[in-house]
């Protein structure tokens, strides 16, 4: 007998006669939040990321201010006004490593946990593009922010590779002291466009 059949057989033997289970879902699926953008910004700041909350009209100029003259990775499908003034970086791993940063949009953001989710869709780059450069500038539209985790899970497409980002990379492995900046981008800067 192959491993697959043997394991399945052992499982069937093991659970024979076990009771059926009801899953209670009494938790909050849509927590009430008055100011989604405000709470999101506050929670992202808690992770020691840099956050700006700006009216949509001011966002392109703010981005230009941040990326001017820097070698930035510019993902396919990024609105052109989100990278004006930047020098485009090449796409090889070595070029990503040498780039100054990457600028992206996102798929969903979660206010309660201060999380940004990327799904490699237009303007969000490949997984390597948002990982290897040391600086990540992410633009979040107010309409992309949901209150809690359940709404985000419902909006996301599991067939796409997803990256959930909550602050810059960090470790607490040495005496539980939090140190920002290990292997992922050491600086995360977020612009919330309202």
């Amino acid at each position: 007998m192959g491993a697959r059949e043997e394991i399945l057989g052992r499982i069937r033997q093991a659970v024979r006669g076990a009771p059926e289970v009801e899953i209670p879902r009494g938790y909050r699926t849509a927590p009430p939040v008055d100011d989604l953008a405000g709470l999101f910004a506050e929670r992202v700041r808690d992770y020691r990321a840099i956050v700006h909350v700006l009216p949509a009209a001011e966002v392109p100029a703010a981005i230009t201010e941040l990326v001017r003259g820097r070698r930035m990775v510019i993902p396919d499908g990024l609105p052109p006004e989100w990278s004006e003034g930047a020098e485009p970086a090449g796409g090889s791993l070595a070029e990503l490593d040498a780039a100054d940063g990457v600028v992206t949009g996102c798929a969903v953001a979660i206010a309660e946990t201060g999380t940004i989710v990327l799904d490699t869709g237009p303007g969000q780059g490949t997984r390597a593009q948002t990982l290897v450069p040391d600086y990540h500038l992410c633009v979040v539209l107010a309409g992309q922010i949901v209150a809690g985790v359940p709404e985000a899970v419902a909006r996301l497409d599991p067939s796409r590779p997803l990256t959930w980002i909550s602050g810059p990379s960090a470790t607490s492995d040495i005496e539980l002291n939090r140190v920002e900046g290990v292997h992922g981008p050491r600086t995360l800067e977020v612009i919330v466009s309202t």
Binding site: G2, E6, I7, L8, R10, I11, R12, Q13, A14, V15, A18, P19, E20, V21, E22, I23, P24, R25, G26, Y27, R28, T29, R43, D46, L93, A94, D97, E112, T113, G114, T115, T126, A128, L131, V132, V149, P150, V153, P158, S159, R160, P161, L162, W164, I165, S166, S169, A170, T171, S172, D173, I174, E175, L176, V179, G181, V182, H183, G184, P185
Partner: protein
């Protein structure tokens, strides 16, 4: 190469006795467990629906286990449809063979690894080394453990037993490219690790990971991490091999809405961990292999009381609140799974054939703090007591219990023995001789009163009241 736990000698009481004499270890552990305990309490307290999430998490895992066969088949189909390959491994040897063959087929002799309890459990690094394949751990704590030729001692923070000065020494001795003048500042040590691993990440062709969750409905795997080493391993190499225990499943995509709240808050005490990656089958053209591991899990599943241990999501909250773990440390448990959850998981996965494994169900005061902290409500004390009944008991203990049973079985007999004991109380030593010393070595023998309580009560009843 970090050593393997399999076949470790000793017993929990012996290991613990040595550990509690190490004051540095006790200081490190106390500081770390108390810090993380406080953090967890504050972020758990933020959620008004924590108990509802906990109840849902428990039930989702129970439902998964109840129909594990069906969900595994569903997972296999979904992963395969998405371009991945699924392999089944009955035990450690089979899993190691599958992974070794997959790595050999790529022609590579180096692999990078994301921290994975399952691959430690099966001794994968050692198995790969036998075939000339070097496995590099990339989690900072795992790197510290691997460079120090040491054992992990905590599920979440495997190098919790090391302080900064010790870590600096290990880096300077073993890392090769450690910068001169390296200080023991955590930021400097972290920077050294970043530089050490960066080039390896960028050139590695094969990565090995575990997974925190697998979704049966969609075939999606989920890894939660902090440092970005996970993202490096999961997304850059051409081939990804994930070794995952069969119990890591959840039925539906929606179920992640529960566990992505329960796990980070219970584990690192954060609202969300810095990075969570999910992928389904072959992502962005990567070659993907999933190795489903039994290695004793179906045996645990067959035990009606013990099977709840398979709900575990490896958050380590039970370690951080345990008074025994805080003093004895993780190594005393002689397993990749330390602490309260290890005390119920290890003897079930490995059996209780060795002294060490048979002693683990006793590595607890049964205070119940672990049950309170567990995000999937595993009643660890209940399983401990259940396993104690199943553990082998020595002839002296069995004879003692039979004698006690005979005495307690009859009221007059008990009264007679109590009076006799009161009369002989001056003669009872503080430490009992022979096999009975096993009891008094770790416990104080209570003082025997001058008069048995029953006699006192009877006298007071008769004379004390008007």
């Amino acid at each position: 190469m970090s050593a393997t736990f399999l076949g470790m000698p000793g017993s929990f009481p012996n290991n613990a006795e040595k550990a509690v004499q190490n004051s540095q270890l006790r200081y490190n552990l106390r500081k770390a467990t108390h810090t993380i305990r406080g953090r967890r309490a504050s972020v758990v307290g933020e959620l008004p629906d924590w108990q509802e999430l906990r109840a849902a998490g428990k039930a989702i895992k129970d439902e998964t286990l109840r129909h594990l066969d069906r969900y595994l088949l569903q997972l296999e189909e979904a992963v395969t449809d998405a371009g991945g390959h699924v392999h089944w491994a009955r035990d450690a040897a089979e899993a190691n063979r599958i992974v070794t063959d997959l790595v050999k087929a790529t022609g590579e002799t180096e692999v990078v690894k994301v921290k994975s309890m399952a691959t430690q459990e099966i001794g994968l690094n050692e198995a790969l080394a036998e075939h000339g394949i070097a496995a590099y751990e990339t989690d900072l704590a795992e790197l510290i453990v691997q460079l120090g030729d040491d054992f992990p001692s905590h599920i979440l923070v495997p190098a919790i037993h090391r302080n900064r000065a010790e870590i600096r020494e290990i880096f300077l001795d073993r890392m090769g490219d450690a910068p001169e003048g390296l200080t023991d500042e955590p930021a400097a040590l972290t920077e050294a690790a970043r530089l050490h691993l960066r080039e390896r990440f960028l050139r590695s062709k094969v990565a090995i990971s575990g997974a925190n969750f697998m979704v049966a409905e969609t075939g999606t795997l989920v890894v939660l991490e902090s440092e970005g080493n996970g993202r490096m391993c999961l997304s850059l190499p051409e081939t990804l091999i994930s070794v995952v225990g069969i119990e890591k499943l959840v039925p539906s995509w929606r179920d992640l809405e529960v566990f992505l709240q329960l796990l980070p808050r219970s584990s690192t005490g954060e609202r969300m961990n810095p990075y969570t990656s999910t992928w389904t089958g072959s992502a962005e053209g990567q070659e993907f292999h999933l190795v489903l591991l039994d290695n004793g899990r179906t045996g645990v599943l067959a035990d009606e009381v013990g099977r709840q241990a398979l709900r575990c999501i490896r958050c380590s909250a039970c370690l951080n609140v345990c008074p025994v773990y805080e003093r004895a440390g993780g190594h005393a448990y002689g397993s990749v799974y330390p602490g309260p959850i290890g005390a119920i998981l290890t003897p079930q996965l490995r059996g209780m054939g060795s002294d060490l494994d048979a002693s683990l169900p006793y590595a607890s005061s049964l205070c119940g703090a672990c049950f309170e902290a567990c995000p999937v409500a595993i009643d660890i004390p209940e399983v401990l007591v259940h396993l104690r009944a199943e553990a082998p008991h020595g002839a002296a203990e069995r004879a003692g219990m039979r004698l006690a049973g005979w005495v307690f079985g009859d009221r007059a007999r008990l009264a007679g023995v109590q009076r006799l004991a009161s009369r002989l109380r001056k003669l009872v030593p503080k430490r009992l001789p022979g096999p009975l010393s096993a009891w008094t070595d770790t416990r104080d023998l209570p003082d025997i009163p001058e008069e048995p309580f029953r006699d006192w009560w009877e006298r007071e009843e008769r004379h004390g009241r008007p």
